[in-house]
């Protein structure tokens, strides 16, 4: 057996499906932090993001037999998390329309101080005013650093439609940031 670090996602998925449930921890370790940030920026709340990521991993475990291409586990998992974030955002918006970025760490003294923190907080507030589709493309490109081509592949859509969505997001963010100055 290969060491855990060398095991492919497909190796682990097959092992879990064969009954070695503990091996699923390797997949969680491998991807939890990468998607924690995506969820946090999409939801504007660390608590909600933590719940969403945890729930997505549990759902992915339950549905693992439906992961038709185990070597593409991470893309499949991302879509589960994405759906979970969309649902959570709809729910929280209905229950608490002003829920926003306040629960994200506002001040990081090692990274620019209060002014930077305030700019970040304002942008995160503005991000939450975007449609989920607009926010997602912004987060994937400017937080996660993916190219339009990578995002299009992940979301199974086209680059021109992503650009149109993003360009609307830029205008909306500018409007929001000016209004809150």
């Amino acid at each position: 057996m290969r060491p855990e670090t060398q095991q492919t996602d497909a190796d682990i998925v097959r092992a879990v499906l064969a009954g070695d449930h503990e091996r699923y921890a390797v997949l969680v370790e491998r991807y939890r932090d990468r998607y924690a940030r995506y969820a946090a920026r999409m939801l504007g709340s660390l608590d909600a993001a933590e719940d969403a990521v945890q729930d997505a991993f549990v759902r992915a475990f339950d549905q693992l037999a439906q992961c038709k291409e185990p070597d593409k586990f991470v893309g499949w998992f991302f879509l589960i998390l994405r759906n979970r974030c969309y649902a959570e955002r709809r729910r929280s918006k209905a229950q608490a329309p002003l829920e926003a970025a306040d629960s994200l760490p506002a001040v990081d003294r090692t990274d620019g101080g209060a002014e930077t923190a305030e700019r970040r907080r304002a942008l995160q507030h503005a991000l939450l005013e975007l449609t989920p589709d607009q926010r997602e493309v912004f987060v994937l490109k400017h937080v996660e650093g993916l190219s339009y081509g990578q995002i299009a592949e992940r979301l199974n859509t086209s680059v021109p439609s992503l650009k149109m969505r993003m360009h609307r997001a830029y205008d909306r963010l500018r409007e929001q940031l000016r209004e809150h100055k």
Binding site: A18, E22, Q54, L123, Q124, D171, R174
Partner: protein
């Protein structure tokens, strides 16, 4: 276009396709505003250090993802595909694939057999499976259309023994599996027989 809209060239700057120096002088200020927006993007990592423990605690209380209707990695022992024509307008072919699951250490169910039912029915809008294993409920076990060629499949884990069944096409047409032996059900219909 509202007063808040960025100029298209500034959007290219935001997309990373241009630099500030590429913008004409009259767009520089707007370009700087756009870059300030991007500078406020929070790219700091987020970590949930107890996530793994929490997820594993949750999954360890749940049933196996390779449970009764999940596909294990089976050992295929038999494959039969026979074309079959039901009516001139409706070409159907049926196949029954039987897998016996390999040794299962997690689930003590040595008498269970995982079976995959396949029906090729390009014209069908819905296909389900009715049999002794689901009380002949034509709605209980739908097949899923899995390919562009009209292939419908369902995977079940059934107890060893003899089962009778039929496919139900579009909710009304009961179709025996021509790849399996059939018996008269006593009411003028033929049921397929599967012995595991």
């Amino acid at each position: 276009m509202s007063e808040h809209d960025f100029h298209p060239r500034v959007k290219q700057l935001l997309d990373g396709d241009l630099t500030l120096a590429d913008l004409p002088p009259e767009l520089r200020a707007e370009g700087e505003e756009a870059l300030r927006l991007l500078a406020a993007v929070d790219r700091r990592p987020v970590a949930f250090p107890t996530m793994t423990e929490r997820v594993m605690l949750a999954v360890n209380t749940r049933p196996s993802p390779a449970g009764w209707r999940r596909m294990l990695e089976p050992r295929e022992i038999r494959l039969r595909i026979r074309p079959w024509v039901l009516a001139p307008a409706l070409a159907l072919a049926a196949a029954l694939i039987i897998w016996i699951a390999g040794p299962r250490t997690a689930a003590p169910a040595p008498s269970l057999v995982t079976v995959r039912f396949v029906l090729v029915a390009p014209e069908a809008k819905a296909v389900s499976l009715a049999g002794t294993f689901n009380q002949w409920d034509a709605r209980a076990t739908p097949l899923v259309r899995t390919g562009p060629n009209g292939t419908w499949t369902a995977t079940l884990t059934l107890p060893a023994g003899q089962h009778q069944y039929a496919f139900v096409v579009d909710g009304v047409r009961w179709v025996p599996d021509p790849g399996a032996p059939a018996v008269d059900d006593g009411f003028g219909r033929r049921n397929s027989v599967l012995t595991l």
